[in-house]
């Protein structure tokens, strides 16, 4: 009798799950929305395109395949102990640079729409810049951990031993990305690196000074020339040239306007009828906004907010457990997903100049999905290990 009661009590007692189910569901929800919306946004365009063989489901089947590969990658990321990721971070980073070099070699890299971003590998096209974002997270976290002493040490050390090497490496990566060109990836990678240096404990006064200095220099550069100002700030008024330079953005904004609060309904978008270019990739958010209105926008933004929040919470927990690399890696993933989704949605809403960045987890695109899910697998692994430690298991 006593035994039975004990057993029952044990069952009733809330036990901590081995992983973070909320985060997992959040990701799966975003993937599902993405799958549906990629199909919805591409259906009309695929139907009339010679390149897709006039198949309405062309992008749906591709995207589904990417999701399967991506989920496998996520499971792979989850199944490897995080210390291995840390150990191999510099090598992976070097591997990423190698890929970025390869992609620039004519004949090896494939050019689409004037950008050399893809490596043709037998069956699939690989986009190294997407993978590079993941590698930068791993590397920057490792770098911050390794340079912990110098960062908080002497002022001169924080510059020569931390900032300068990192700056040089990032300049190399940045140069490679800008040669493609892939401005979006460059911005995301810079944000990850700087964010992790900051969280890693870099002298904040110096950091703030640096940000102000760089920002000021950039602003001065833009404002000093009429031409550059027009190039960079042109996005602010797409209605000046709505059929030329402002074409894509004005149609994106129209999609938002047409959606109003609750949207025109799934499948009822007009902008996707060949009006809005790249509706299934960079401008997927505009179609979501048109078909589901502000409600749809809010759901997607809140899901991303939750995802980012969760990544930072996992990071904080890891930090509490003295797992510094894991803490930084988790937050790096959070910065990556957060910054990229903010920029993408911002571009869609006309707040930022067009960058060529996809919406993480939702937009069509194999490499992006795979890289995102691989990173989220690692994030879940970090969380899993946190929980194991809290429960008292050793890793």
């Amino acid at each position: 009798m006593k035994q039975i009661f004990y057993q029952a009590m044990k069952r009733l007692k809330p036990t901590m799950s081995a992983y973070d189910p909320a985060l997992l569901w959040c990701v799966l929800l975003l993937l599902s929305i993405g799958l549906v919306m990629v199909y919805s946004a591409s259906i009309a365009m695929a139907e009339v395109d010679k390149d897709t063989g006039f198949k309405a489901t062309y992008f749906l089947t591709r995207h589904s395949m990417f999701l399967v590969v991506g989920l496998a990658a996520g499971m792979f990321g989850f199944s490897i102990a995080t210390r291995h990721w840390q150990d191999y971070a510099p090598m992976l980073f070097l591997f990423g640079i190698l890929l970025l070099v390869l992609v620039l070699i004519p004949g090896v890299g494939r050019e689409v729409n004037g950008s050399r971003r893809w490596l043709s590998l037998a069956v699939i096209n690989l986009q190294p810049s997407e993978l590079m974002k993941f590698f930068v997270v791993l590397y920057a976290a490792d770098y911050a951990v390794r340079k912990a002493h110098s960062m908080t040490g002497k002022f001169i050390d924080s510059i020569t031993k931390v900032l300068l090497p990192m700056g040089l490496v990032m300049a190399l990566v940045g140069a490679l990305l800008l040669l493609e060109p892939d401005m979006g990836a460059f911005v995301v990678i810079t944000a990850i690196a700087m964010g992790l240096l900051f969280i890693g404990g870099y002298n904040w006064q110096l950091f703030a000074g640096l940000v102000v200095l760089l920002g000021g220099a950039f602003a001065a550069l833009i404002m000093s020339s009429e031409y550059r100002r027009a190039r960079v700030l042109g996005f602010m008024n797409p209605w000046e040239d709505p059929f030329g330079k402002g074409y894509q953005l004005s149609h994106s904004l129209i999609a938002f306007g047409r959606g109003e609060w609750t949207g025109v309904g799934l499948g009822a978008s007009v902008e996707k009828l060949s009006y809005l270019p790249e509706a299934h990739t960079d401008f997927l958010m505009a179609i979501i906004a048109e078909e589901f209105g502000f409600v749809g926008v809010t759901v997607v933004v809140l899901l991303f907010t939750f995802l980012v929040f969760r990544a930072f919470r996992i990071g904080l927990q890891a930090a509490k457990l003295e797992r510094h690399w894991q803490a930084l890696a988790a937050q790096g993933i959070g910065i990556w997903i957060g910054v990229q989704s903010i920029i993408n949605i911002g571009v869609n809403m006309g707040l930022l100049p067009t960058k060529g960045l996809t919406l993480p987890l939702l937009s069509f695109g194999g490499s992006g999905i795979v890289a995102n899910l691989l990173a989220l697998g690692v994030l879940l692994r970090i969380d899993y290990e946190n929980r194991q430690m809290i429960k008292g298991y050793s890793l």
Binding site: Q86, D87, A148, T152, G257, A289
Partner: protein, 618 residues
């Protein structure tokens, strides 16, 4: 998975390193920054989707909504038996948007994988494509190139943008248009239009009229009944995808209201007959023109109305404006002797004379002031009936002078002269009847035999209709009636009957119009041979020969008025040039209408051989 060597080594290295001091505030700072940015996105979403949406939707509408006009099918026009007289059929018109294309240099073709980058980008078109298009359209390459690629210059000499719309070929048959569109040349489009087709062609051109290339009525009933025939165009507001296909309707469709069918009172068979007879006589007599009206005397319906020369309303070539004139309704002429029947009716109705009253025609001469009235067939004393039969001007003048000026004016007005017929026909002539107060005696006298007052053929026919229907004047109508419209008794029935008898005598031996006789029917009528006013002076050679008559006399059914304008001089007499037309038309019409003969057949009472034909000159 394990990495035996490296893992152990690196783990060892990890232990030796100084550990970073992760401060929570830094994490919170970065996280809040990101959350703030997400909040900004939501704020922007609220602005775009909740407050700026009017403007944005408007911009969207400008880009992909179109207000489409849905053309209404123009109503048919049929004759009284439902025979088709005018019908609209679907045709295709080819148009181009020159602004959206540009010409490739000779020998160059558009690559197969060519794609338009945005709406503004011009599509290249090769010369071979232009050649294919021109041969399919049946125009020359040069003409097509000029239409599509000629740079236009405005008055200041500045180059202008090429137009957005230009017709290449209108109203092609659907099959031909399909061939053109199958060439798949960018910037070339087709549009459905309607083309009007007139099965009766030139026979009825003046009554029906025609429409212009845009389907608007230009003449005849196509013009006057344009509103009911045209119907009302419908509209729909649609969203189109970028390739121009309609995706959905965004407002309720206002369906087009097709035009109503217009059923005319015209009988196509009678019309054909009238047109044929008139035309052959105009040709035979080398006349300038002619007009004929066939009225149903019981209802006032127009059974036929034809003019010569006519035109083919199906042909789009330029139509001579002179041929477009509907002489029977819009042209005025001085009727001459056909007016005498009206004069006689006036005198009879007023009780001034009886059919048997004898009037001395004074040997065919009568002098009023400086003017002298003459008769062609001078006689002494004649009865009113004889005056009519021999068409004595003096007798008619004497009858008129028995009347008070005002009474005569009122009578002529009552008979429908000097006022419009209100048939709803464009350009209808009212005729000219001067105010009686200005009349001098000579004018009153000449009016008695048809000079000094101008009338239309239709008015003349209508006046005779009064005799046919026992004194009732009916409104003239071109549309089929269910029941006759109420008429107005303008003369006594006895007067009408008496006039009918006189009219019959005109066609009998001893009268001026024996050629008006019809086998099997008793007919009556009056000839007219009026001098034409040329530059204000009565011409010596130009005449208007006319005949207005009623058939059958015993129970009148139709009134036919024939007018031949300027026939050859030897054919100038109404009895020669107009009466035979009357005869042929009446014979056919009565048979078509199924009117039983009221006289034994094979009974034409021609003057005895050798007897001189009586031809009147007024």
């Amino acid at each position: 998975m394990s990495f035996p060597n490296t893992a152990a080594r690196q783990a060892g290295r990890r232990q030796l390193r100084p550990q970073p001091r992760l401060e929570n505030w830094r994490t919170w700072f970065v996280l809040s920054s990101l959350l703030l940015l997400f909040a900004i996105l939501l704020g922007r979403g609220i602005y775009l989707q909740g407050f700026n949406e009017e403007f944005l939707k408007e911009q969207g509408d400008q880009r992909y909504t179109r207000n489409l006009k849905m053309e209404a099918l123009r109503g048919m026009i049929t004759d009284r038996n439902g025979e088709l007289l005018a019908q609209s059929t679907t045709v295709q018109s080819i148009w181009a948007s020159p602004r959206s294309i540009y010409l490739l240099p000779k020998g160059q073709e558009r690559p197969h994988d060519w794609r338009q980058k945005n709406d503004e980008e011009q599509v290249p078109v090769s010369l071979t494509e232009i050649h294919k298009l021109s041969s399919q359209l049946g125009v020359s390459d040069a003409e097509l190139l000029k239409k599509l690629f000629d740079e236009r210059v405005n008055s200041k000499g500045e180059a202008q943008k090429r137009p957005d719309f230009v017709w290449l070929k209108r109203q092609l048959s659907p099959e031909d248009a399909k061939k053109v569109m199958a060439l798949n040349i960018p910037g070339i489009y087709s549009q459905t239009e309607y083309r009007r087709f007139y099965p009766a062609g030139e026979q009825l051109a003046h009554v029906i009229g025609f429409t212009d290339i845009d389907g608007k009525g230009q003449e005849g009933f196509e013009l006057t009944r344009d509103k009911t025939l045209a119907g009302k165009a419908g509209s729909r507001t649609v969203i189109r995808d970028r390739r121009g296909y309609i995706v959905e309707d965004i407002s309720t469709i206002v369906p087009p209201l097709d035009g109503q069918t217009l059923q005319l009172s015209i009988d196509r068979r009678i019309q054909y007959l009238a047109f044929r007879e008139l035309n052959s006589m105009v040709e035979r007599s080398h006349a300038v023109g002619g007009a004929i009206v066939v009225l149903d005397s019981r209802t006032g319906e127009v059974l036929a109305l034809a003019n010569a020369p006519s035109y083919n309303p199906n042909s789009r070539t330029r139509i001579d404006p002179a041929h477009r004139r509907n002489r029977a309704v819009t042209d005025l002429y001085e009727p001459g002797s056909t007016m005498k029947a009206i004069t006689a009716a006036m005198a009879l109705d007023a009780g001034k004379v009886k059919p048997t009253t004898v009037i001395n025609t004074d040997g065919g001469r009568m002098t009023i002031g400086p003017a002298t009235i003459r008769d062609d067939h001078p006689g002494g004393s004649m009865t009113i009936e004889q005056i009519m039969q021999k068409s004595s001007n003096v007798g008619a003048a004497k009858m008129a002078l028995m009347m008070d000026r005002e009474a005569m004016h009122t009578f002529l007005k009552n008979m429908g002269f000097g006022e419009k017929l209100n048939t709803g026909f464009p350009g209808e002539a009212a005729g000219r009847l001067r105010p009686w107060k200005d009349w001098r005696p000579i004018e009153q006298a000449t009016m008695a035999y048809g000079y000094g007052a101008s009338v239309s053929v239709m008015q003349m026919a209508r006046a005779y209709q009064v005799f046919a229907s026992d004194g009732e004047l009916r409104p003239i109508t071109f549309t089929k009636l269910v029941a006759p419209m109420p008429g107005r008794q303008v003369i006594k029935p006895e007067t009408a009957q008496a006039v009918r008898k006189m009219l019959e005598m005109v066609t009998l031996p001893g009268g001026t119009a024996t050629r008006a006789q019809v086998i099997g029917y008793r007919v009556g009528g009056k000839t007219g041979t009026a001098k034409k006013l040329v530059n204000g002076v009565y011409s010596d050679t130009a005449r208007v020969g006319s005949f207005v008559g009623i058939a059958p006399i015993s129970n009148p059914r139709i009134v036919v008025a024939v007018m031949i304008d300027e026939p050859a001089f030897e054919m100038r007499y109404g009895g020669l040039v107009a009466a035979p037309v009357f005869s042929n038309v009446v014979a056919g019409t009565l048979r078509i209408l199924g009117v039983p003969p009221d006289s034994p057949t094979e009974n034409i009472l021609l003057p005895p051989p050798g007897a001189p034909e009586i031809l009147e000159e007024t």
